[in-house]
């Protein structure tokens, strides 16, 4: 038994833990239903186009509807699922007093944390697979053959990578606060604040034409998370007029780097806290 085996065993444990939550199923089902609803709306729009909205642009839109299916939920719903999975990951073991059972066994705290982190992340990856498959299938079924479909796997990986940010941040709060509700609320708070501040900054930018506001807003956690997948998509799909890949001047490297910075910082803080403190009981 080595590091990998012991961590892998924790991965399966973490699946069981997260899958025992009703909250998780509710959110996943809600997300998938929303995706279907979104497509139903578009389908209605295409069959009953408003006047002046006919012809070839419409056909072009139809051919890249898979992107809507895959990327449409990135801004809000996938991060929410990430937050719910990671929120109880560390804290629940303290709240329930089950951390004692796990950490009194031959396993290091690092193996324990690695297993929990990768367990939650792989579960999130699985949910994103569901969303991706449903999105592309619906696009095919409702709007016929899709263009650039070969990029689905790359877009999938970029989605997963982008969601590392809020996943790790929640995971970190889960270990630092050791309270599930508090850590989920904290990250949702950060998420909302980040949206809000981002809005203010871009308004200031519009009013003053000052570039600095825009640069600052990019470091808010949700900018990179919600934009990286579409930046990559627009880079990959050489259809500049493609209507859904509309963010110009997307800075892929910057977004990827910001995600990495937040993720690594979160993991380090969580690891430090775990190693340097007592295993507590019943903080909830």
């Amino acid at each position: 038994m080595g590091f990998l085996q012991r961590s892998a065993n924790m991965v399966t444990y973490e699946w069981r833990r997260a899958l025992a939550k009703k909250k998780f199923y509710v959110l996943v089902i809600l997300t998938l239903v929303l995706q279907i609803g979104l497509f139903a709306l578009f389908s209605y729009f295409f069959t009953n186009p408003p006047p002046g909205f006919v012809g070839s642009p419409l056909e072009e839109m139809k051919a890249s509807m898979w992107l809507v299916g895959v990327l449409g939920l990135q801004g809000l719903f996938i991060p929410l699922i990430a937050i719910v999975i990671a929120g109880g990951s560390m804290s629940e073991e303290y709240e329930r007093g089950t951390a004692d059972i796990l950490l009194s066994k031959p396993i290091t705290k690092m193996e324990y944390m690695t297993g929990k982190f990768l367990g939650g992340l792989s579960l999130l990856g699985f949910v994103i697979v569901l969303i991706t498959i449903l999105g592309t299938t619906l696009a095919y079924g409702l709007f016929g053959p899709q263009e650039s479909i070969q990029f689905v796997p790359v877009i999938y990986l970029v989605l997963l990578y982008s969601n590392l940010l809020f996943f790790s941040m929640t995971f970190m709060f889960s270990e630092v606060f050791r309270r599930t509700t508090l850590s989920i609320m904290a990250v949702i708070g950060i998420f909302v604040a980040s949206l809000f501040i981002g809005g203010i900054l871009s308004m200031m930018h519009l009013m003053t034409q000052e570039q600095l506001y825009l640069e600052i807003s990019k470091w808010l956690p949700n900018w990179s998370v919600s934009n990286l997948p579409s930046f990559v998509a627009s880079e990959l799909i050489t259809a500049p007029e493609s209507p859904f890949v509309s963010v110009p001047g997307g800075d892929i490297q910057l977004a990827a780097a910001i995600i990495a910075v937040y993720t690594i910082a979160s993991i380090l803080i969580a690891a430090l806290k775990l190693v340097r403190s007592d295993v507590t009981k019943r903080t909830g």
Partner: protein, 312 residues
Amino acid sequence: MSPQSVLAVSNLTKFYGDFKALDSVSFAVEKGWIYGYLGPNGAGKTTTIRTMLGLLRPDQGEVQIDGVNPAKNPVHALKSVGYAPELPTLQTFFSGEQLMEFIGKMFGLAAQARKARIKQLLDLVGLKEWGDKKIGKYSKGMVQRLSLALALINDPLVLIMDEPTIGMDPEGTAHFRNLFTSLSKEGKTIFISSHLLDEVQRICTHVGMINKGKMVFNGLITQVLETFTKQWVIEAELKTVTKTMITAIKNLDYVEDVKVDENKLRIELKEKKDLRGEISSEIFKRKGVLLSLNLHKITLEDAYLRALKGDQ
């Protein structure tokens, strides 16, 4: 502390904030012992145990299990340790079997060995019919039983249990008491915490007493009496007690002190000797009417209470 001590705790000090929960606690447990760790509520038993397992970080001191520090090398130190926490809370989303399966994997047990062991242990703790039920449906005593089965899954050489029979029915308590004794006969080392002297007295070979974070006694159970008993006591009931009678008895060379409770005298002797004859003739000499006379050797219970008060 010999180099081969199975459990060695030295100068353990632990603070919770400003509160000193353990004050330089030291003891060693050798192979085959059943060590009773005795102390009242809040004494620091659970704190000691959780520090021994590396769950709590001591402010000072060190723990070694078979020579390895579990806080530094848990993989090595804890592989042959079984631990049953105080009032365990187990993963309610697992069934008993599933949790045992998972913990078995944590110990690196092979699939075949796991299966057999799980079946055998569920049977041993009286949960044969409950193995496939979710732990969320277990009663308190059943969770306690499962927790003890979990502590045995790796066939541990050292068994550390924090008040293992709390919340268990008398039949269960007796069953596990026998189990612990037979495990110790197989050569396993057992560390058991309790606030019940009776429990410790029944099965333990050695005892450590802790009070307010300090060790007050550490040694053979048979030595507890020796250490904390300086004297025996004679209780005499008289028809009437007079001041002169009290002074006269107090002045006898072999009497340490006399306490009066209405017509009863509690005569504390200076030594461990049956001096009822001497006392009764003293009383008769002074025309006292003796109703009853009892020799009271101090019990382990008294010794324990004395140890806790610190009047060694």
